[in-house]
Amino acid sequence: MSDHRICFIGVGGQGTLLATMVLAEAAISAGHNVLASEVHGMAQRGGVVESSVMMGNIKSPIISDGEADVLLGFEPVETYRAMGKCSHDSIVVSNTVPVMPFSVAIGKGAYPDIDKLFSFIQPRVKTLITLDARALAEEAGAALSANVVMVGALAGSGALPIPKEAFEETIRTKTKAQFAEVNLKAFQLGFGAL
């Protein structure tokens, strides 16, 4: 079974850790050996949150520079900032909706042109997939489900040997029951977004 290293990057409050768990549990239910890694601490305070999932015969739970097979970026600037994790073999799936850093909000810095970020990434990676996860999450019924939309897009990209049903089963059983329906719809919309 081949090895896969998946890097998640986002901003505190975006639910990247739940997305990490959904992928990890789905991979396990599909029979893969899994490691996951999270850095705790600043998640609720608007800082950058990075996590990762390893599938296959890997012992190290972190991803070195240039070694991510897949990067799931929840925020355009953070996707760009994390490009060092990727190489020309990487698949990048990124949300297009910015979360304004506080430095920008108070006028101590500018948010760059998002198109420029993606046009730098596009030719340098194997595949770049971008989507408006917030719009799809709102369509599913809750803006907070944007993280599950992102997992759906990852599943839909076909980058990982995990069947769609494994994700759906995980969402049904491992996310909060009252959000399961919305989350399943969000997953579906992400899955079909490409």
Binding site: I28, L35, P61, G66, F102, I106
Partner: protein
Amino acid sequence: MHPLLTPEIGKRLLLLGNEAIVRGALEAGLGFATCYPGTPSSEIGDNFFRIAAESDLYFEYSTNEKVALETAAGAAVSGIRTMCSMKHVGLNVAADPLMTLAYVGVRAGMVVITADDPSMFSSQNEQDNRLYARLSGLPMLEPTSAQEAKDMTKAAFEISEALELPVLLRTTTRLSHYRGMVTMEELRPSKTRGAFEKDSARFVTVPANARVRHKVLVDQGEKAREMACQSPFNTITGEGPGGIVTSAMAYDYVADAVMDLGLADKVKMLKLGFTHPFPQDLALGFIRSVERILVVEELEPILEESLKVVAQTHGLSTPIAGKGADLFSRLYEYNPGMVRATIAKYFGVDYTPPKAIDIREAEEPIQLPLRPPNLCAGCPHRASYYAVNSVLKETGTEAVFPSDIGCYTLGILPPLQTADFLVCMGSSVTSAAGISRATGKKVIAFIGDSTFFHSGITGLVNAVHNQHNFILVILDNGTTAMTGHQPHPGVEIAPQGWEKPSISIEAIVRACGVEQVSVVNPINLTKMKNAVKEALASDRLSVIVAKAPCPLYERKVKGTKKKRAFEVGPECNTDCTECVDTFGCPALFKNPAADAKTTMIIDERLCIGCGVCIQICKKIRPKKV
């Protein structure tokens, strides 16, 4: 039922390293657990807290690590299997009891968890607590995986009882906070009631007894060394002239590198899990069996130096390398890529690392905005800091700000910039005494409520007694917010099932002998500013207890909803940016819209309706519904 209490033997769960430790302790029949929370150790105590609510386990969040260790020691000498967990710098606080507890030992298994933080993801230093094993003479185990974290925890209780010594189990942030597959084994029923059998010649360390007990410790250390040589956690694998010695998470990076570089039949590996006392005989055999050795260990060259001692003692000149300019660093966490590259270099293997994308290659450089963490919208600490800054500005006063450890340390960032000195828990109060005495200037120190209980009180007694003159602001948000909202002795808003007495910070401050004490809600800026003005006007030590609950905690425990909604009025159309320049709430910022009608805008999703901003600027007002 708590998932870590599952009785299903053979079930495989994806567990955090910290959760695996908890399960291991339960499988060992843990009866008593204490901790002071601290990243990356906090989930251990948090899981025990929930498990204690549905089992016989006794658990407490103690006021600090010294208290936690001594309390746990009391249970362990009374025959109860005990665990005490803390972050690496917590063991500095608990070092005093640890050093002498090693002399007297324990009667039931006692495991002390020290969670180190290479790279300082959330700590003030990256000290290597393996040195505490050497300093105390106690055995140390270091897991390399979540499964091993569980297995070693169980084994640690057995080792502890065999030697009648506490055992240190060291994790790092990476081990504590990664998830791996762990297989459940049988839970052992807890023994929660013990007996203290008196033996003052052993347990009372007057010098005459301590002299005897130190020898016992040294003798037990030699037994432990033999155990380490036989331990299933210390293994030799592979075959070849090259040697690698490694431990902890570095082992995982080495194991992957050996596979990736095709070195499995060229390099022999000594993996050490029972790392102290150093298994000298095992190491000697290993040194003799290879031509040269690379040691891969994060932080200090402890295994490397131990190997060199063994080699020198036996007259061996086998090259042993580890730390060095071309090899490994004493700084920061390692990663698989750097370990792979260094192993390739040392053993002369051709290796080209993957070419990482370099964003500096952009034809047209893109300036990226920074994204530092920030105090949350509605955080009462921001109001306190704002009030202090405004009064200083209004009165033309300059002040030095000793700070302390908690969310409020984020006050270091602009626009508040209310942190000037910080070294450890409790250092705000004490360094304020030294700075004010040495400079004669105004000093305003900030400490959180949990930190005040942890190590602020003795400093305050000292300050009163020695007549130091500064202002101490106790930022009392009713919880240990930074590490995940653990309760502390002063909690008033309590989590479910919490039936413990609340201890008043104000009463403690007064009992310390402070005469000028005010308790104010900082959300009311006028009251907070008046308290600061009064304190500044005084020529004596004064304490302001700025008391308002952490809004995240209040929402979690009480389900508190957003209080009110606010909006920026149309008259906010000038180039005035005072609110973001002095207050800096993340919910209030420059309007990014191209057709913006107001200079500022409030993000209604972030705003919790605390209403502090309307006290700062008249252009902000309640939103009409």
